[in-house]
Symmetry: none
Subunit: 225 residues, 2 copies
DNA sequence: GCGCCTCTTGACGGTTTCTTAACGCATGAC
DNA sequence: GTCATGCGTTAAGAAACCGTCAAGAGGCGC
């Protein structure tokens, strides 16, 4: 069953949305502020989030940013503001769609359907990795080495994920750069050098002689478990 | 390079979009009507389509429907109409996103980035080769000989690939040089001598008496498995 | 505002890969 | 036999690439 989290500080709107969504067969949970929303996302693991930008505590964009650190959960943004900058900012932070209040219920439902349809298995995280020297849990973004936790930055996780989604496979430099930094970065290979070095320092037993994060000079990198 | 197809019947808008998208590093093609658009999609295989709903020949929704029969190509819809029904219909037919004219360029660019991010990458390579003495996996760029891995350089892989696309067939020297080193290198046959020698040394059981990488003197080389 | 963390950017040295040249061998023409 | 041409082999210098370090910019939380 598809779960939808509705985040808005107007109880009336939340109620209207809940009724309509439930009538279409969705399971609906709700939150009235940003912190609660983040908690619900972590605990209830909804399939889609409908998020109002104007919340009492956190800015909606911040909520998107936090969520995007760890997941690709589809987010549909609601906003009363007509200003286009908001849309841009929210979309750039990783929102999937944007609806301006007031909106028709049909439109919102269509966008929810589109978001649910998009939620493909390919957006799922790579399998957790367990080697002799470290473990990686991509869903939780937790890494351990010799039993103790290792801190990885968001970019390091993104890069690792791009490599670990196909363990043992060569991933071309341009593809890594596009997936982690975005289109237009395909030639900035120095990013890869810096971040691979960082990952090796944190994960490899001998960073100077890598065993897991391997280089194919002139081609790309591969993650071997 | 990420290819974007812009479909709109207003040349001025197409031009503006093309300039902006190209400035962001995208490759842009365009069509002014629905039939041409479908043709472009089939032939140019763009990565994202930006599609105006109001086209002279076909309805934009019909274009979406046709495309969705065969692919999941991300489609961003443009429309001058403010009517919400259009949005609903387009999204339900499988459009990924919807922008109402007039729109800010920043907003559209953000939506394009979001669509590109969602798209799954893929590419084509010759079939893997398996002989009595070695195996070649072109997608992974992994070669093994007698069970143990063999390291090949990027140029060696490119040359092997040019030969292995048509196993058993003679490939003229000029063609190999053009495909691997680029146009203008058609006469630099010494490259072939050097690199074929390298490949034989790494792959052939008796490099002096080649069995897989064969020479047709004065003409070219062929790869026989 | 302040400190912390992350990302970006530049510089340097070591390594791999590419390019180029030289030489030996075979073949065929004269 | 001698020469010319094309191919195979090797090695050395040039260029490109990679790993590493560190300084500076920017964002975020407090």
């Amino acid at each position: 069953m598809t779960k939808i989290l509705v985040v808005d500080d107007e109880p009336a709107l939340v109620r209207t949305l809940s009724i309509n969504l439930r009538a279409r067969g969705y399971e609906v949970t709700h939150a009235f502020d940003g912190r609660t929303a983040l908690q619900c996302i972590a605990e209830d693991t909804p399939d889609v989030v409908v998020l109002d930008l104007g919340l009492p505590d956190l800015d909606g964009v911040q909520v998107i940013r936090r969520v995007r650190r760890t997941s690709e959960l589809p987010i549909i943004v609601l906003s009363a503001r007509h200003d286009s900058d908001d849309k841009v900012e929210a979309l750039d932070e990783g929102a999937d769609d944007y609806v301006t209040k007031p909106f028709g219920m049909d439109e919102l439902l269509a966008r929810v359907r589109a978001a649910v349809r998009r939620r493909t298995p390919s957006s799922a995280h790579p399998e957790p990795v367990r080697t002799d020297h470290f473990t990686l849990d991509f869903a939780e973004r937790v890494a351990t080495r010799d039993g103790s936790p290792v801190k990885l930055t968001p970019t390091e996780w993104n890069l690792l994920e791009a490599l670990a989604i196909r363990p043992g496979h060569l991933v071309p430099q341009a593809e890594l750069l596009r997936e982690v930094w975005g289109p237009g970065y395909e030639k900035d290979t120095h990013y890869l050098r810096v971040y691979v070095a960082g990952l090796r320092r944190k994960l490899e037993p001998e960073p100077g002689r890598p065993r897991y994060l391997l280089t194919d000079p002139g081609q790309g990198y591969r993650f071997s478990c």
